[in-house]
Each structure stands twice: as structure tokens, then as C-alpha cells.
């Protein structure tokens, strides 16, 4: 069997899994199916728990910013609070609105959930810890994360609720606009790394921290900041959380969703937040590169630092208005990122960098 997956540190586990499954005498194509299903389930489990803990973390951080304690009663500092939330949401009734569009209403959260997890195929969690090192990794991530918009639009349309519709429309407009500066700021990195593969991009930043692209690119900090701003908008977080602006649209696109369907949107939001942070780390902050400690530890450390940054944004800034949001994207971010891209490309051509 051919492994298109680069396992370095987890190799023993997979070997053991492979031995166990193959000892049942399963024929070859089925063997792969079983193995990949197991892999997917593992990934899913890890990410779901991760998202739950991000929710808990966000609640604690917001509480401490606001001089409160946040969840305290359920376990040490409420550590199993979000698990209880998940159990509750699992048993909630699923309300089907009579006027909904049945197909669209049903599949929107599923699609949102799946789209959020698809990106993890090409994110390198550590040296060799990547599911598939595609040679078009960056392109792939850009493509699958955009699925989220369709699902939000579906949710807004399918609910047959005006607030939901407004929320869906807003999110479509927002994500489409911010996709442009986001890609433009990523392209600078791609130009310098000379590859679309995530692993190659990380390899290009080998060594100490001054080799990270944020410091090495001619206008690295600008590219990083524009990426972070665009990523905040992509993940629908304050100050760009207009699709679910609580004070205007009550709950936005997910207003009609209850129980597990709502939980899917909720978890997908946090998974998306982790995704954009992971991409930021991979592209700008050197990915798994670091000293002494294992590579996955460095990766997670950096990613959580970026997540923390996004959370601090959320709990300090007010929300922008929808037209100001568009103006900011098209009149400020797009020219800036494209100028940055052109400058970067020219410098690469001229060789003015280290």
C-alpha cells in the first residue's frame, strides 16, 4: 500500500493500525477505505474537542477581560462546561420551521461543518504531521474555506426569515470581498517561497525566527496584518461579525436553527478561527519551526497565540457597519495588498531580499 501521507512522529501508531486492520485479511481497496475512515474520524475527534475548548477558552478570556470569572462551577474553572453544552445541544429538539426550504435548510449546517474541516487536510501540524502534502496546498485551502459562504447563504435563504436572509446576504458580500485581499496577501508568501505546497512554505522558513516570512519579506508585517484583518472577516468575528450581528439581526443567518444544527454552525465558527490562525502561522510565522521543543508544540503554541489575538479583537472592538466594511475592503485593503504583492514580486525579481 502506498502512503501519500507523510507520517513521521505518528508513524508507529499508523503502522500498528495498519497491522491490525490488515491482519483481518481485508482486501486492498477496503483496507485503504478503513484506514482513511479511521484517520478522518481521529482528525474529526481532535478538532471537535479543540473547538469545544476554544469556546471554553474564549468564555474564560472574555470573562477575565470583563473582570468576571466565566464558567466556574462545573469542574476546575468550569473545564467541562462546553462538554455539557454539547450534550445539551445534542438532545435539544430540532425545530423545523414550516415555511423553510427543506433541502437547503437541512444541508446548510452540514455543509458549513464539512467545509470547516476540509481545510485540515493540508495543514502541517508539525514536521511530517500532515494528512496530505498537496502541491497546490494553498490553493486547496482557499478553495475549500470558501464553501462556508455558500453554506451561510443557504442557511439564510433556507430559513425563510428576513433577519436570516439579511445575515446570509451580508456574509456572502463580506466573505467574497475579503477573499481578494486575503489571497493577495498570501500570494506574496507564495511568490517568495516559490511553491504552493504548505510543507515547502514552512521549509522555506527553516531556522531561527528571523527566517520567518513576516520578518523576511520586504513588507512582511503589512502582509501579515492585512491577512489577519481579512481572516477575521473570513471567520466572521467582531469587528466583522455583521452576518450574525446580535444587536441588529438578532442572531443572523442561524436565527432559525436549534439544537445540533446550531451547534454545527457554532463549532464551525471556532474551527474556522483555528484554521485561519493555523494558516497565518504556516505562512508567516514559520509553521512548526522552533528550537528544543517538538515541532507540533511550536505550531500549536503559535496558533494559539494568533487565536488569542483574534479573541482580544473581539472583546475590545465595536462592530463595523456593512457599507463601511465593504469600503474598508475595496478602498483600502485591496489596493494595499496588491501594491504589496507587486512590490514583493519586483523585489524577488531584483533579488533585494535575504
Amino acid at each position: 500500500m502506498i502512503w501519500p501521507v507523510a507520517f513521521a512522529e505518528l508513524r508507529p501508531i499508523f503502522d500498528w493500525l495498519y497491522d491490525m486492520v490488515s491482519s483481518t485479511g481485508l482486501p486492498e481497496p477496503w483496507l485503504s477505505v478503513v484506514i482513511y475512515t479511521g484517520l478522518g474520524a481521529m482528525m474529526f475527534g481532535v478538532l471537535a474537542v479543540l473547538a469545544l475548548y476554544l469556546v471554553w477558552w474564549e468564555r474564560k478570556i472574555s470573562a477575565h477581560i470583563q473582570q468576571r470569572f466565566g464558567p466556574m462551577r462545573h469542574g476546575w474553572h468550569g473545564w467541562y462546561q462546553t462538554i455539557m453544552d454539547a450534550i445539551k445541544l445534542l438532545q435539544k429538539e430540532h425545530v423545523d420551521v414550516a415555511t423553510r426550504d427543506k433541502f437547503v435548510f437541512f444541508w446548510a449546517p452540514v455543509m458549513c461543518f464539512v467545509a470547516a474541516f476540509l481545510a485540515y487536510v493540508t495543514i502541517p501540524f508539525g514536521e511530517g504531521l500532515i494528512v496530505a502534502d498537496l502541491n497546490i496546498g494553498v490553493l486547496y485551502i482557499m478553495a475549500v474555506t470558501t464553501f462556508t459562504i455558500i453554506s451561510l447563504l443557504m442557511a439564510g435563504w433556507g430559513s425563510n426569515n428576513k433577519y436570516a436572509l439579511l445575515g446570509g446576504m451580508r456574509s456572502a458580500a463580506q466573505v467574497v470581498s475579503y477573499e481578494v485581499p486575503m489571497v493577495a496577501s498570501i500570494l506574496v508568501v507564495v511568490v517568495f517561497a516559490g511553491s504552493l505546497s504548505m510543507v515547502d512554505i514552512v521549509r522555506a522558513q527553516d531556522g531561527m525566527f528571523y527566517n520567518w516570512f513576516i520578518f523576511r519579506l520586504p513588507f512582511g508585517p503589512i502582509a501579515f496584518l492585512t491577512y489577519i484583518v481579512a481572516a477575521t472577516a473570513e471567520a466572521n468575528r467582531t469587528p466583522f461579525d455583521i452576518p450574525e450581528a446580535e444587536q441588529e439581526l438578532v442572531a443572523g443567518f442561524n436565527i432559525e436553527y436549534s439544537g445540533m444544527k446550531f451547534a454545527m454552525f457554532f463549532l464551525a465558527e471556532f474551527v474556522n478561527m483555528f484554521t485561519v490562525s493555523a494558516i497565518a502561522v504556516t505562512l508567516f510565522l514559520g509553521g512548526w519551526n522552533g528550537v528544543f521543543l517538538p515541532s507540533w508544540f511550536w505550531f500549536l503554541l503559535k496558533t494559539f497565540a494568533v487565536v488569542l489575538l483574534l479573541m482580544l479583537f473581539r472583546w475590545t472592538y465595536p462592530r463595523l457597519r456593512v457599507d463601511q466594511l465593504m469600503e474598508f475592503a475595496w478602498k483600502f485593503l485591496v489596493p494595499l495588498t496588491f501594491a504589496n504583492l507587486i512590490l514583493g514580486a519586483w523585489m524577488k525579481y531584483a533579488g533585494w531580499y535575504w
Binding site: Q66, K88, Q91, K92, E246, S258, F262
Partner: protein, 170 residues
Amino acid sequence: MGLIKKVPVYAERIPGGSLVLTTLETVLHQGQAKSLWYLLFGTACCAIELMCTGASRYDFDRLGMIFRASPRQADLIIAAGTITKKMAPRLRRLYDQMAEPRYVIAMGGCTIKGGPFYYDSYAVEKGIDHIVPVDIYIPGCPPRPESLLEGCIHLQEKIKKQKLLDWQEK
């Protein structure tokens, strides 16, 4: 109502099912009790105390309670403040929009029996318990945040004592 209604039906049929049921009962009701998301619903004075309870000094979040603006995602209505005859159909509608399991706390004298507006008022609904089923009554005009927290803890205890089979009858 999804899982919670179907589980006992199937679990009772298999041998040893009631044992599974008891464990499940504990887990499911712990989940319900420990994550009561309340609807952002306030009409009058009690709403200010509700806000204070959510704020730093009293902090609802300690109990795992956060607010949701959409009734679909909420588990609990804290009816904070006077419910007038004009508002009563809206309260009922919000209650109907919520997904089960759902609970109601009547906060303050007005929601219990009309409070100071019982006599001489032509517009106040005399108690909300003939509009929606109420689980916990919290007296006071308005009740202090501590008593609201106490009421919520009582509601949690009440939820934990429920039986899965109770849901079948509803």
C-alpha cells in the same frame, strides 16, 4: 424532540436497558442543567436586575448560563418584568418558538401575580402562569441578583431530578 424522547422507547426493549437508561438520564439531565442558555427577554425593572446579574459582580456565566438572542437556541425564558395584556401573546409566541426542553422562570412580583399592578390596572396580566408553564417563581420587586442566581440553581436541581420517561407524557 429528538434524542431525549426516542431513547427510552428503544432502551426499554433491550435487556438491561433500564440500567443504561439510568446512566443516560444522569448524563443528559446534567447536560441540560449545567448549560442553561437564557433568552434575552426583559420587559421592565427586573430586566435591569437581570442585566446586573449578567455583569461582573454576580456573573451568570459562572453557572454556565449565557444569553442567546434567538428563542430557537435558548433553553430558558427568564420573564423579567411586567407582562401586559398586549405583551402576553408575544411571550407565548416566544415560548412556542423555543426548542424543547424549555424552562420558564417567573422573575418578580408582576410575573407571579401582577405585583404592584394587581389592583386598579386594566392593562397588566395577572400572573404569567396561565400563559406559559412556570418552573420557578422568584418573588421580589425586583428580586435581588442573588435571589435570581439562587432561583437558577434551584432550577438546575429540579432539572437534574427529572426522569427521561417524564418527557414521554408531554
